[in-house]
Amino acid sequence: MWPVIVLLAGPVLAGLLSLVIRRARVLHAVNFTTMLALGVAEAVLTRQVLADGSVTTLGALVYADALSDFILIIITAIGLSCSLYMWSYMDEQVARGVIAPKHLGAFFFLFHMFLFAMVAATMANSLGVQWVAVEGTTLATTFLIAFFRRRESLEAGWKYLILCSVGIALALFGVVLTYYSSVRVLGDASSALNVTELIGVADRLDPNVLKLAFLFILVGYGTKVGLVPMHTWLPDAYTEAPAPIAAMLAGVLETVAVYTLLRSKAIVDQALPSEFTGNLLLLFGFVSFVVASLFILLQHNYKRLFAYSSIEHMGLAMIGFGVGGLVGTFGGLFHLLNHALAKALAFFVAGNIHRRHDTLEIDGVRGLATSQPVTAVATLVAAFALVGLPPFSPFVSELLVVSALSAKTFASDTVHVGRFVAVTISDEVRSVGLVAVFLLFGVVLFGGMMAKLGSMVWGAPREGVARGESWTVGHVPLLVMMAALIGLGVALPEPLRTLLARAVTVIVQR
């Protein structure tokens, strides 16, 4: 029970402390200690989950099984590396006068509230509480995105607040509909939205209501994931957010949003044939993947480039979950972890480049290899990982997704959405066609990313850009993440493999 309490109370406590502490050094120390404590608590929780299967505590408010535990690992790992990176990043922003020293406390307060909301969303037993927590992430992050208070960042923050609030209001209607169907089976109980209750009776819920509910939930939480066409807030927000926040948004928040979708999918799949949710996810996944790959070719801003790459990778994970089955789901989940690592690395690198070169334009940056050798290596690793080259771990998960896709036989050609909208997948566009499209756009992506990021690494740096890079504490997460990307690409450690395999069985019950 205590790991759960540490995970929930830690960020709240640290957030409140941040409001009263004035000295930057102490703020960073509190932040880092909290993240370390969360990491330890998460490790203990993982042991418990591996031993007992699941943990239900705090009056059934908290429920952690292999799936939520896996997501918590991503939250704590990326959060810990962020806290180290922020140490050097935020101090430099204060030293340059970009933000006033007194605002640092507010920054950490919001950061910890953001963290708390994500942990709560992941561990909530009730789908309603989960919704409250996801909306909480929107409220906590909107000012983090607009933290530098430039006109563009205010614009991005407002757009994010409005679009995500609308999306999430639709998701709430989906949750209400789920309750509408479950309260009939479970009686008028306050626990009728609890995952632990729902999973037992899901096959007796009304399929029509669940269909409608899942559509609302998919569009709602899909906005937070950044699925096309609900993605328009995402590139602006990621570009304007401070680099460590962009890393958290891309690496962790998207993952949590996908998790909320998976929870609903696990319930809906019991009442309906899994093709219903599967085909919808497949459709959104493919559209996101294709559109984002094309947009990557148009970008001239490297943070925007990484933002579109996030949309593309979430599309890829959705394809994995949409194909479903053991292999596809395993690939999708593993890809969430790999994407979080690679994307956080990418945004850390972007923060380093931006601070040195004072521009977000790809054309404005040349000769990273001479000016910032460590960052240059990290840029290349992030780029290789994001386009899916071996030996980096995204290659493995993408391979799993593609092989699941190619092995898939489509049982039905038409997805009925509600009573009157029907999405028809024609006979010709079968798995082979889908794989071909997938690989084609994979190549497009490869070319676009490598050409753009490569041009930043080589050549001679501009006049007036300092050469050489001194080691700071902010370089530690870069090294760790590069090592992790290679390590996970070569071998998957036994506890993680077991955890992933169990998480798959949470989603694929039949």
Binding site: E155, V176, S190, F420
Partner: protein, 221 residues
């Protein structure tokens, strides 16, 4: 069906329709302060509906939700929004993305769509509040439409709150209220969202000399 339930169901329907009408009125209103007043009125109808359902069904926790609606959506949030409007240099919204007659027509269409979508699932509902589910979805869609059609940050916020009212009506109608902890959380989120939007309009006003979100064009492909 007894006479009593029949009358009750009629009353609930009447209140739901009043909610729907007030969202149409918001779509048709140019003056910002009137939009806020109409939202407060709509929230009052919502609280009445909830109290009515609580009285007719004996679910006491809905009274709490009704009381919270009065405090947060009838008193606090409209007050915040009025404060924001006072500080602004505009009181009327002259240019819209979609003009008012066309907007009203579209909203009429949205109501039809809402009834069409909910038709297969309505028979599952409680007798008392059956048709309210369709009306709730209609209000959500109209709120959504308001956010698209309007350009001012304040009216976009009102649109969001109208959506939230629709969801709340749906909760009351479909399931006689959600578990208490969820309802409290939702109220908290709505309140904080209102506060944040208030701060934003302030900062947008400082940075752009306008709360017209169509001025927000620095970020483009």
């Amino acid at each position: 069906m007894s006479e009593f339930t029949h009358l009750g169901s009629q009353l609930v329907n009447l209140c739901s329709v009043l909610l729907l009408l007030s969202s149409f009125a918001i779509v048709a209103q140019r003056r910002l302060s009137a939009c806020v007043d109409l939202f407060a009125l709509q929230s009052f109808f919502l609280a009445t509906t909830a109290a009515l359902v609580a009285f007719l069904t004996g679910h006491r926790h809905i009274y709490l939700a009704a009381a919270l609606t009065v405090v947060i959506k009838v008193i606090v949030l409209p007050r915040i929004l009025r404060k924001v409007i006072e500080r602004l240099n505009v009181s009327r919204e002259l240019v819209m993305n979609i003009n008012i007659p066309a907007g009203l027509l579209i909203c009429g269409g949205l109501v039809v769509v809402a009834f069409f979508i909910t038709q297969p699932i309505i028979p599952l509902g409680y007798l008392l509040t059956r048709d309210s589910l369709a009306i709730a979805l209609a209000i959500i869609l109209i709120g959504f439409f308001t956010m698209i059609a309007r350009k001012k940050a304040v009216t976009q916020m009102v649109g969001f709150l109208v959506m939230e009212n629709g969801v709340f009506l749906g909760t009351t109608a479909a399931a006689y209220g959600m578990p208490l902890i969820v309802e409290l959380g939702v109220f908290f989120d709505v309140l904080v969202a209102g506060l944040i939007a208030g701060i934003y309009t302030h900062r947008l006003q400082d940075a752009f000399d306008s709360v017209d979100t169509s001025e927000l064009t620095a970020l483009k492909e």
